[in-house]
């Protein structure tokens, strides 16, 4: 294939530029860099996440031209966008549903990484940067949801910011700093707006690092074995550019179906009621993509036996434990490469891990489902068992499985997967050679 395309450009002007700043050879690298030839459609979600980020930034910038970050005007200014700004309804619905689309795509991207062991050597840094992006996305999405100043905006802000108060000693001052006062009010809305505009560009920066790391260690693949030579790879362009464009089409079809035919399906009707600090909604529910974490937060009650055994006896408050668990639910991904120590990456060759992977997926779905239910029996105890399973999966099951499990033999190489049936071929599952 056109590996000769890589290197210095022949055109004299381009060469002059390239000698001073290698932007031309960088573009060539991006286009022709070698990718495993066996990627399946689950590898489309990386580029779709990038596309989602760009859609969010572009629509967000336009919305900010018409939005007023003041408690008296925010709700009305959003409605003015919906009614009086040319195609304002379109831009706002794209932005509103774009948040959900971004999370769907990123969650599938993460589960793909979990299934095929994309977090293992040598991709730990790549994985970490991804977890940082997830944290930043969650903060951005949460603050963005507050901006329309509807009932759910206000009360979600109230519930989530109040959690900071659980931090020992400095909790109260920290909450007041976050609020810019003594409750969620205009200063809160102002600083959330400012940060909601800032963080996407921070995400963009981390995405650049994420891609840099990816291009250094190269993409993982469904077999989870390393590329051993040119026969195992193909150029990114045109093979994966066309495949990504096809994936983009499918993604935009789903996106457009929501924007044009069910724009409020993923939202909560209460957010079309202006925020009223004196009227608490009967059920405060976060956006769907936060529901699993919300269940984990609410699972830590004073009377939960696990909490009492682990933390309650030395006087820790259940509220603090819940907050820590919620943050820990994502942070545990940082140490995942050292929890799952199996030398085989892909679940394709890990019969036991594969079962627990799917149980984990089901557990996450249960956590999400419970998050939308009121905090009362039987939901609470289902949520607590699901929370227990979530952490047990990472902290107990994965370390055990990776020690006990006997992986199936790995194929000899990506280009000859059928020839590698013998055990001899499975000698070096995660060789350091790069």
């Amino acid at each position: 294939m056109s590996t000769e395309a890589q290197g210095a450009p022949r055109n004299r002007t381009l060469k002059w530029i390239d000698d001073r700043m290698p932007i031309v050879s960088m573009t060539e690298h991006a286009l022709y860099y070698p990718v495993p030839r066996n990627l399946n459609y689950l590898w489309n979600f990386g580029s779709l996440a990038g596309l989602s980020l760009i859609i969010m930034i572009v629509t967000g910038i336009v919305l900010s031209m018409h939005y007023t970050p003041h408690t008296d005007y925010a709700f009305d200014s959003v409605e003015r966008i919906m009614r009086d700004v040319n195609y304002g309804w379109l831009i706002r619905y794209v932005h509103m549903n774009g948040g959900s689309m971004f999370f769907i795509v990123v969650y599938l991207h993460i589960f793909r990484g979990l299934y095929y062991g994309s977090f293992k050597t040598p991709r730990e840094l790549l994985w970490w940067l991804g977890v940082v992006i997830l944290f930043l996305m969650m903060a951005t999405a949460f603050m963005g949801y507050v901006l329309p100043w509807g009932q759910m905006s206000f009360w979600a802000a109230k519930v989530i910011t109040s959690m900071v108060g659980a931090v020992p000693l400095i909790g109260e001052s920290l909450t007041e700093l976050l609020w810019g006062g003594f409750t969620v009010d205009n200063p809160t809305l102002n600083r959330f707006y400012s940060l909601h505009y800032l963080l996407p560009f921070v995400i963009l920066g981390v995405v650049v690092l994420h891609i840099w790391a990816l291009h250094t260690v190269k993409a993982n693949n469904p077999l989870g074995i390393d590329m051993k030579g040119p026969q195992d790879s193909i150029d990114f362009h045109p093979y994966y550019t066309t495949k990504d464009l096809f994936g983009t089409g499918v993604f935009l079809l789903v996106f457009a179906a929501f924007v044009f035919y069910a724009p409020n399906y993923l939202g909560h009707p209460d957010n079309y009621i202006q925020a009223d600090p004196l009227k608490t909604p009967p059920h405060i529910v976060p956006e769907w993509y936060f529901l699993p974490y919300y269940t984990i937060l609410r699972s830590f009650t004073d009377d939960w036996w696990l909490f009492q055994i682990l933390l309650g006896w030395w006087g820790m408050e259940a509220k603090l434990a819940g907050v820590l668990a919620m943050a820990g639910a994502v942070a545990v991904l940082f140490v995942l490469p050292w929890l799952d120590t199996s030398r085989v990456r892909s679940a394709k060759f890990r019969p036991v891990y594969r079962v627990f992977f799917w149980l984990f997926v089901i557990d996450c779905l249960i956590l999400g489902w419970i998050g939308a239910q009121p905090a009362e029996p039987p939901w609470t105890s289902i949520g607590q068992w699901a929370t227990l399973w979530y952490f047990a999966h990472f902290l107990v099951i994965l370390p055990l499985v990776s020690r006990v499990e006997r992986p199936r033999p790995l194929p000899h190489s990506i280009s000859q997967p059928v020839l590698g049936g013998g055990a001899a071929a499975a000698a070096a599952p995660m060789e350091a050679s790069r």
Binding site: L245, G249, L252, A257, F260, A262, P263, P269, Y272, H283
Partner: protein, 281 residues
């Protein structure tokens, strides 16, 4: 083998996605736990579905119901009088409707505040000067603004229509519903019983009680039964909450068709490119 997770996902999602697209605007919001809420009656609105349109004569009848009945207590502050041109009112009609109301004008030469008749550029004038006045005249509960009521309630238009037609007598209330202690539900003084209200107790008196309560002005209007008036005013409020719905759905068809073509082409190109590489991707 490699693609089996995707295939499984596809098998799971495809029927749901197709159902969602077919049902279009009629997709109900996810059910949020509401205790003993009764599912609203499903109405075949003209604005349901992918090809849904507003029935403009119906919206004009609904406007009349709003003006003559609802507007006594409920505002519509996000809608401007000029917006009514979109449902087929002439400028003269709009000026007449607006001119009946007064809004604050510029201060006069002496600096004294003035009032002037409302104009098409103004938003619907609230029935009460402030929340306190609204509460004082309504047993302490301010009637909600109706601009977004259809989008602000689970069940949307079906819910609003069901609520308007869902009042039951005190006797029936005792028989059908229980309070939080499990005793027969009895509405207090100034309260009413409604099947579809959360908790079945509502502070609003039944607004549409007899056939012909509103005399429809337009030629060819159906008889103004309670049911018809309820449907008409709900359709009007659906428009008030989402005035660009028709444009949105129309554009959606073009966008979906374009994307289908684009996706098809991209798939063909991808297959073609892939042919060159044996056993890849």
């Amino acid at each position: 083998m490699i693609r089996s997770p995707l295939r499984a996902l596809h098998r799971l999602l495809a029927p749901a996605a197709i159902a969602a697209v077919l049902a279009g605007g009629a997709v109900p919001a996810p059910a949020f736990a509401a205790g003993d809420a009764v599912a609203p009656k499903a109405v075949a609105w003209t604005f349901n579905g992918v090809f849904g349109r507003y029935d403009y004569p119906q919206l004009r009848r609904g406007l009349q119901v709003y003006n003559e009945v609802c507007a006594a207590c409920h505002g519509l502050r996000l809608v401007a009088y000029r917006d009514l041109a979109a449902i087929g009112l002439s400028e003269a009609q709009i000026r007449t409707i607006a001119g009946d109301k007064e809004v604050a004008g510029e201060p006069d030469e002496e600096g004294e505040p003035t009032v002037r008749p409302a104009e098409p550029k103004d938003r619907f004038v609230d029935p009460f000067p402030n929340v306190q006045a609204a509460m004082a005249s309504n047993n302490g509960a301010a009637p909600p603004d109706l601009s977004l009521i259809v989008k602000a309630r689970g069940g949307a238009a079906d819910y609003v229509y069901s609520l308007l037609t869902g009042y039951v007598s005190e006797a029936a209330c005792k028989k059908q519903f229980k309070d939080s202690q499990g005793n027969p539900l009895v509405p207090a003084e100034g309260q009413y019983c409604n099947t579809y209200m959360s908790g079945h107790i509502i502070a609003m008196a039944p607004p549409l009680t007899e056939d012909g309560q509103v005399e429809y002005e337009e030629a060819g209007a159906p008889p103004a039964s309670v049911d018809q008036m309820s449907k008409d005013v709900t359709a009007f409020l659906a428009w008030a909450a989402e005035p660009y719905m028709v444009e949105r759905k129309r554009m959606g068809i073009k966008v979906m068709l374009f994307l289908l073509l684009f996706t098809g082409f991209m798939y063909a190109i991808y297959r073609q490119v892939k042919k060159d590489v044996k056993g890849s991707a």
